[in-house]
Symmetry: C2
Amino acid sequence: MKAEDKTLRELTGYRLQRANGIAMLRYKEVFAQFGLRRTTFSCLSLIIDNPGLKQSQLGETLAIDRPNLVYIVDDLTRAELIRRDVSQQDRRAYALHPTEKGLVIFGHALEAVRRLDGTIADGLSAKDHKALIAALDLIERNCATQLAKP
Amino acid sequence: MKAEDKTLRELTGYRLQRANGIAMLRYKEVFAQFGLRRTTFSCLSLIIDNPGLKQSQLGETLAIDRPNLVYIVDDLTRAELIRRDVSQQDRRAYALHPTEKGLVIFGHALEAVRRLDGTIADGLSAKDHKALIAALDLIERNCATQLAKP
DNA sequence: TATTGTTATACTCTATAACTATA
DNA sequence: TATAGTTATAGAGTATAACAATA
Protein backbone atom coordinates (compact mmCIF):
# COMPACT_ATOMS: atom_id res chain seq x y z
CA MET A 1 0.00 0.00 0.00
CA LYS A 2 1.50 3.27 -1.10
CA ALA A 3 1.32 6.38 1.06
CA GLU A 4 -0.26 9.71 0.16
CA ASP A 5 2.25 12.38 -0.82
CA LYS A 6 -0.33 15.13 -1.27
CA THR A 7 1.66 17.83 0.54
CA LEU A 8 4.80 17.05 -1.45
CA ARG A 9 2.93 16.87 -4.76
CA GLU A 10 2.15 20.58 -4.44
CA LEU A 11 5.88 21.37 -4.54
CA THR A 12 7.60 22.09 -7.84
CA GLY A 13 10.94 20.98 -6.41
CA TYR A 14 9.50 17.58 -5.49
CA ARG A 15 8.14 17.01 -8.99
CA LEU A 16 11.43 18.13 -10.52
CA GLN A 17 13.44 15.84 -8.27
CA ARG A 18 11.18 12.83 -8.91
CA ALA A 19 11.23 13.26 -12.69
CA ASN A 20 14.98 13.84 -12.70
CA GLY A 21 15.72 10.93 -10.38
CA ILE A 22 13.89 8.33 -12.40
CA ALA A 23 15.02 9.77 -15.74
CA MET A 24 18.68 9.65 -14.68
CA LEU A 25 18.31 5.93 -13.96
CA ARG A 26 17.34 5.44 -17.60
CA TYR A 27 20.20 7.58 -18.90
CA LYS A 28 22.58 5.69 -16.63
CA GLU A 29 21.63 2.41 -18.34
CA VAL A 30 22.35 3.91 -21.75
CA PHE A 31 25.66 5.47 -20.70
CA ALA A 32 26.74 2.16 -19.18
CA GLN A 33 26.27 0.42 -22.54
CA PHE A 34 29.18 2.55 -23.78
CA GLY A 35 31.31 2.30 -20.65
CA LEU A 36 30.34 5.84 -19.69
CA ARG A 37 28.73 7.59 -16.75
CA ARG A 38 26.69 10.79 -16.82
CA THR A 39 29.71 12.91 -15.95
CA THR A 40 32.11 11.25 -18.38
CA PHE A 41 29.53 11.53 -21.17
CA SER A 42 29.06 15.27 -20.57
CA CYS A 43 32.79 15.93 -20.33
CA LEU A 44 33.51 13.94 -23.49
CA SER A 45 30.82 15.91 -25.31
CA LEU A 46 32.37 19.21 -24.24
CA ILE A 47 35.88 18.11 -25.18
CA ILE A 48 34.63 17.15 -28.64
CA ASP A 49 32.80 20.46 -29.06
CA ASN A 50 35.83 22.40 -27.73
CA PRO A 51 39.05 20.55 -28.60
CA GLY A 52 42.00 21.76 -26.55
CA LEU A 53 39.76 22.57 -23.59
CA LYS A 54 41.36 22.85 -20.14
CA GLN A 55 39.96 21.03 -17.08
CA SER A 56 39.20 24.31 -15.40
CA GLN A 57 36.96 25.32 -18.31
CA LEU A 58 35.24 21.93 -18.24
CA GLY A 59 34.49 22.39 -14.58
CA GLU A 60 33.22 25.91 -15.01
CA THR A 61 30.78 24.91 -17.75
CA LEU A 62 29.43 21.79 -16.05
CA ALA A 63 29.56 23.12 -12.48
CA ILE A 64 31.93 20.35 -11.42
CA ASP A 65 34.50 21.30 -8.79
CA ARG A 66 38.11 20.97 -9.95
CA PRO A 67 39.06 18.14 -7.58
CA ASN A 68 36.16 16.06 -8.83
CA LEU A 69 37.26 16.43 -12.43
CA VAL A 70 40.53 14.65 -11.78
CA TYR A 71 38.95 11.22 -11.59
CA ILE A 72 36.58 11.92 -14.49
CA VAL A 73 39.42 12.99 -16.79
CA ASP A 74 41.55 10.05 -15.58
CA ASP A 75 38.66 7.74 -16.40
CA LEU A 76 38.30 9.11 -19.95
CA THR A 77 42.08 8.97 -20.44
CA ARG A 78 42.35 5.37 -19.21
CA ALA A 79 39.55 4.40 -21.60
CA GLU A 80 41.57 6.11 -24.36
CA LEU A 81 38.63 8.33 -25.30
CA ILE A 82 40.66 11.52 -24.78
CA ARG A 83 44.33 12.48 -24.55
CA ARG A 84 45.89 15.11 -22.31
CA ASP A 85 48.61 17.23 -23.90
CA VAL A 86 50.53 19.75 -21.85
CA SER A 87 49.28 23.13 -23.00
CA GLN A 88 51.75 25.16 -25.08
CA GLN A 89 50.46 28.45 -23.71
CA ASP A 90 50.42 27.38 -20.05
CA ARG A 91 52.51 24.47 -18.87
CA ARG A 92 50.39 24.07 -15.72
CA ALA A 93 47.36 23.10 -17.81
CA TYR A 94 46.42 20.19 -20.03
CA ALA A 95 44.80 20.62 -23.42
CA LEU A 96 42.14 17.91 -23.74
CA HIS A 97 41.44 16.35 -27.13
CA PRO A 98 39.20 13.47 -28.17
CA THR A 99 40.86 10.39 -29.66
CA GLU A 100 39.48 8.64 -32.74
CA LYS A 101 38.01 6.03 -30.42
CA GLY A 102 36.47 8.79 -28.33
CA LEU A 103 34.78 10.32 -31.35
CA VAL A 104 33.37 6.98 -32.50
CA ILE A 105 32.10 5.90 -29.09
CA PHE A 106 30.61 9.29 -28.35
CA GLY A 107 28.82 9.22 -31.72
CA HIS A 108 27.14 5.93 -30.87
CA ALA A 109 26.34 7.03 -27.30
CA LEU A 110 24.85 10.31 -28.48
CA GLU A 111 22.62 8.46 -30.93
CA ALA A 112 21.31 6.23 -28.13
CA VAL A 113 20.85 9.17 -25.76
CA ARG A 114 18.86 11.05 -28.39
CA ARG A 115 16.61 8.02 -28.83
CA LEU A 116 16.04 7.90 -25.07
CA ASP A 117 15.44 11.64 -25.04
CA GLY A 118 12.59 11.07 -27.48
CA THR A 119 11.02 8.28 -25.45
CA ILE A 120 11.06 10.05 -22.08
CA ALA A 121 9.28 13.05 -23.64
CA ASP A 122 6.92 10.77 -25.57
CA GLY A 123 3.44 12.31 -25.52
CA LEU A 124 4.66 15.92 -25.40
CA SER A 125 3.84 18.03 -28.43
CA ALA A 126 6.70 19.97 -30.02
CA LYS A 127 5.24 23.11 -28.50
CA ASP A 128 4.96 21.58 -25.01
CA HIS A 129 8.48 20.23 -25.28
CA LYS A 130 9.79 23.67 -26.14
CA ALA A 131 7.88 25.11 -23.18
CA LEU A 132 9.40 22.46 -20.91
CA ILE A 133 12.95 23.35 -22.00
CA ALA A 134 12.18 27.05 -21.54
CA ALA A 135 10.80 26.40 -18.04
CA LEU A 136 13.85 24.33 -17.05
CA ASP A 137 16.16 27.08 -18.31
CA LEU A 138 14.19 29.66 -16.35
CA ILE A 139 14.52 27.59 -13.17
CA GLU A 140 18.25 27.24 -13.77
CA ARG A 141 18.68 30.97 -14.24
CA ASN A 142 16.50 31.83 -11.24
CA CYS A 143 18.48 29.50 -9.00
CA ALA A 144 21.85 30.63 -10.34
CA THR A 145 21.19 34.32 -9.65
CA GLN A 146 19.87 33.48 -6.20
CA LEU A 147 22.99 31.49 -5.41
CA ALA A 148 25.23 34.23 -6.81
CA LYS A 149 23.75 36.94 -4.56
CA PRO A 150 25.84 36.35 -1.41
CA MET B 1 36.24 31.41 -20.55
CA LYS B 2 33.32 29.01 -20.58
CA ALA B 3 33.08 26.17 -23.07
CA GLU B 4 30.33 25.58 -25.64
CA ASP B 5 27.85 22.88 -24.62
CA LYS B 6 25.84 23.04 -27.83
CA THR B 7 25.55 19.27 -28.28
CA LEU B 8 24.41 18.77 -24.69
CA ARG B 9 21.97 21.69 -24.83
CA GLU B 10 19.91 19.76 -27.40
CA LEU B 11 19.28 17.01 -24.84
CA THR B 12 16.22 17.10 -22.61
CA GLY B 13 17.98 14.99 -20.00
CA TYR B 14 20.83 17.51 -19.77
CA ARG B 15 18.45 20.42 -19.23
CA LEU B 16 16.51 18.45 -16.64
CA GLN B 17 19.68 17.48 -14.77
CA ARG B 18 21.07 21.03 -14.82
CA ALA B 19 17.85 22.60 -13.55
CA ASN B 20 17.42 19.93 -10.90
CA GLY B 21 21.02 20.08 -9.76
CA ILE B 22 21.10 23.80 -9.15
CA ALA B 23 17.57 23.87 -7.72
CA MET B 24 18.41 21.15 -5.19
CA LEU B 25 21.32 23.28 -3.92
CA ARG B 26 18.78 25.98 -3.08
CA TYR B 27 16.38 23.56 -1.39
CA LYS B 28 19.30 22.10 0.54
CA GLU B 29 20.02 25.52 2.05
CA VAL B 30 16.41 25.86 3.17
CA PHE B 31 16.19 22.35 4.61
CA ALA B 32 19.44 22.93 6.51
CA GLN B 33 17.90 25.95 8.26
CA PHE B 34 15.55 23.47 9.97
CA GLY B 35 18.13 20.73 10.57
CA LEU B 36 16.67 18.71 7.70
CA ARG B 37 17.92 17.19 4.48
CA ARG B 38 15.92 16.56 1.32
CA THR B 39 15.22 12.98 2.31
CA THR B 40 14.30 13.69 5.92
CA PHE B 41 12.00 16.51 4.82
CA SER B 42 10.15 14.24 2.37
CA CYS B 43 9.86 11.41 4.87
CA LEU B 44 8.62 13.72 7.61
CA SER B 45 6.01 15.11 5.22
CA LEU B 46 4.77 11.62 4.39
CA ILE B 47 4.65 10.57 8.04
CA ILE B 48 2.57 13.64 8.83
CA ASP B 49 0.20 12.98 5.93
CA ASN B 50 -0.02 9.28 6.84
CA PRO B 51 0.39 8.83 10.60
CA GLY B 52 1.19 5.24 11.54
CA LEU B 53 3.04 4.67 8.28
CA LYS B 54 5.54 1.81 8.07
CA GLN B 55 9.07 2.26 6.75
CA SER B 56 8.36 -0.09 3.88
CA GLN B 57 5.51 2.14 2.73
CA LEU B 58 7.70 5.23 3.03
CA GLY B 59 10.30 3.59 0.84
CA GLU B 60 7.79 2.45 -1.74
CA THR B 61 6.32 5.93 -2.13
CA LEU B 62 9.60 7.81 -2.28
CA ALA B 63 11.56 5.16 -4.17
CA ILE B 64 14.07 4.83 -1.35
CA ASP B 65 15.52 1.37 -0.78
CA ARG B 66 14.75 -0.09 2.64
CA PRO B 67 18.33 -0.14 3.90
CA ASN B 68 18.69 3.55 3.13
CA LEU B 69 15.63 4.42 5.15
CA VAL B 70 17.17 3.15 8.36
CA TYR B 71 19.51 6.11 8.75
CA ILE B 72 16.85 8.60 7.64
CA VAL B 73 14.34 7.33 10.19
CA ASP B 74 17.07 7.19 12.86
CA ASP B 75 17.91 10.78 12.07
CA LEU B 76 14.30 11.93 12.43
CA THR B 77 13.94 9.92 15.63
CA ARG B 78 17.14 11.31 17.18
CA ALA B 79 15.93 14.82 16.36
CA GLU B 80 12.67 13.91 18.13
CA LEU B 81 10.60 14.85 15.07
CA ILE B 82 8.98 11.39 14.90
CA ARG B 83 8.50 8.43 17.19
CA ARG B 84 8.58 4.77 16.28
CA ASP B 85 5.98 2.59 17.96
CA VAL B 86 5.98 -1.16 17.47
CA SER B 87 2.98 -1.86 15.26
CA GLN B 88 0.06 -3.57 17.02
CA GLN B 89 -0.89 -5.51 13.87
CA ASP B 90 2.63 -6.64 13.02
CA ARG B 91 5.37 -6.73 15.63
CA ARG B 92 8.10 -6.72 12.95
CA ALA B 93 7.07 -3.25 11.82
CA TYR B 94 7.19 0.22 13.31
CA ALA B 95 4.31 2.66 13.11
CA LEU B 96 5.78 6.10 12.50
CA HIS B 97 4.14 9.16 14.01
CA PRO B 98 5.15 12.81 14.06
CA THR B 99 5.88 14.39 17.44
CA GLU B 100 4.58 17.83 18.39
CA LYS B 101 8.05 19.18 17.65
CA GLY B 102 7.99 17.42 14.28
CA LEU B 103 4.70 19.05 13.35
CA VAL B 104 5.91 22.51 14.33
CA ILE B 105 9.28 22.27 12.58
CA PHE B 106 7.75 20.77 9.46
CA GLY B 107 5.21 23.57 9.37
CA HIS B 108 7.95 26.20 9.34
CA ALA B 109 10.06 24.25 6.84
CA LEU B 110 7.10 23.78 4.50
CA GLU B 111 6.40 27.50 4.59
CA ALA B 112 10.01 28.26 3.61
CA VAL B 113 10.02 25.60 0.90
CA ARG B 114 6.82 26.99 -0.58
CA ARG B 115 8.40 30.44 -0.69
CA LEU B 116 11.44 29.01 -2.49
CA ASP B 117 9.12 27.10 -4.82
CA GLY B 118 7.63 30.42 -5.85
CA THR B 119 10.97 32.08 -6.47
CA ILE B 120 12.48 29.30 -8.59
CA ALA B 121 9.44 29.36 -10.87
CA ASP B 122 9.37 33.16 -10.88
CA GLY B 123 8.53 34.36 -14.38
CA LEU B 124 6.35 31.36 -15.24
CA SER B 125 2.67 32.09 -15.79
CA ALA B 126 0.16 29.93 -13.91
CA LYS B 127 -0.57 28.18 -17.19
CA ASP B 128 3.12 27.55 -17.96
CA HIS B 129 3.68 26.31 -14.44
CA LYS B 130 0.83 23.85 -14.79
CA ALA B 131 2.29 22.68 -18.11
CA LEU B 132 5.70 22.22 -16.45
CA ILE B 133 4.22 20.02 -13.72
CA ALA B 134 2.31 18.02 -16.33
CA ALA B 135 5.47 17.54 -18.40
CA LEU B 136 7.48 16.41 -15.36
CA ASP B 137 4.74 13.93 -14.45
CA LEU B 138 4.72 12.61 -18.00
CA ILE B 139 8.49 12.09 -17.91
CA GLU B 140 8.18 10.29 -14.59
CA ARG B 141 5.47 7.99 -15.94
CA ASN B 142 7.34 7.33 -19.19
CA CYS B 143 10.50 6.42 -17.33
CA ALA B 144 8.69 4.28 -14.76
CA THR B 145 6.96 2.13 -17.38
CA GLN B 146 10.21 1.77 -19.30
CA LEU B 147 12.03 0.63 -16.16
CA ALA B 148 9.19 -1.73 -15.25
CA LYS B 149 9.33 -3.61 -18.59
CA PRO B 150 12.13 -6.12 -17.77
C1' DT C 1 50.09 36.49 -5.60
C1' DA C 2 46.99 33.87 -8.41
C1' DT C 3 45.90 29.84 -11.09
C1' DT C 4 46.09 24.70 -12.73
C1' DG C 5 45.80 20.50 -11.39
C1' DT C 6 46.32 17.30 -7.53
C1' DT C 7 45.71 14.70 -3.02
C1' DA C 8 43.18 13.67 0.90
C1' DT C 9 38.98 13.58 2.99
C1' DA C 10 34.08 13.67 4.01
C1' DC C 11 29.14 13.88 3.27
C1' DT C 12 24.97 12.52 0.76
C1' DC C 13 22.30 9.55 -1.94
C1' DT C 14 21.93 5.24 -3.91
C1' DA C 15 22.41 0.07 -4.50
C1' DT C 16 23.02 -5.07 -3.20
C1' DA C 17 23.69 -9.10 -0.27
C1' DA C 18 23.00 -11.26 3.93
C1' DC C 19 21.21 -11.35 8.47
C1' DT C 20 17.14 -11.32 12.58
C1' DA C 21 12.70 -11.56 14.04
C1' DT C 22 8.47 -12.00 13.13
C1' DA C 23 4.42 -13.50 10.09
C1' DT D 1 8.27 -19.20 2.79
C1' DA D 2 7.77 -14.40 2.80
C1' DT D 3 8.05 -9.80 4.86
C1' DA D 4 9.95 -5.74 8.05
C1' DG D 5 13.70 -3.89 9.46
C1' DT D 6 18.74 -4.10 9.97
C1' DT D 7 23.86 -4.36 9.08
C1' DA D 8 27.71 -4.02 6.20
C1' DT D 9 29.51 -2.41 2.18
C1' DA D 10 30.28 -0.14 -2.16
C1' DG D 11 29.53 3.09 -6.01
C1' DA D 12 28.49 7.69 -7.46
C1' DG D 13 28.28 12.70 -7.13
C1' DT D 14 29.55 16.58 -4.57
C1' DA D 15 32.23 19.68 -1.28
C1' DT D 16 36.40 21.89 1.22
C1' DA D 17 41.26 22.49 2.61
C1' DA D 18 45.95 22.20 1.50
C1' DC D 19 49.74 21.37 -1.60
C1' DA D 20 53.22 21.57 -5.94
C1' DA D 21 54.24 23.57 -10.19
C1' DT D 22 53.72 27.34 -12.99
C1' DA D 23 52.16 31.97 -14.30
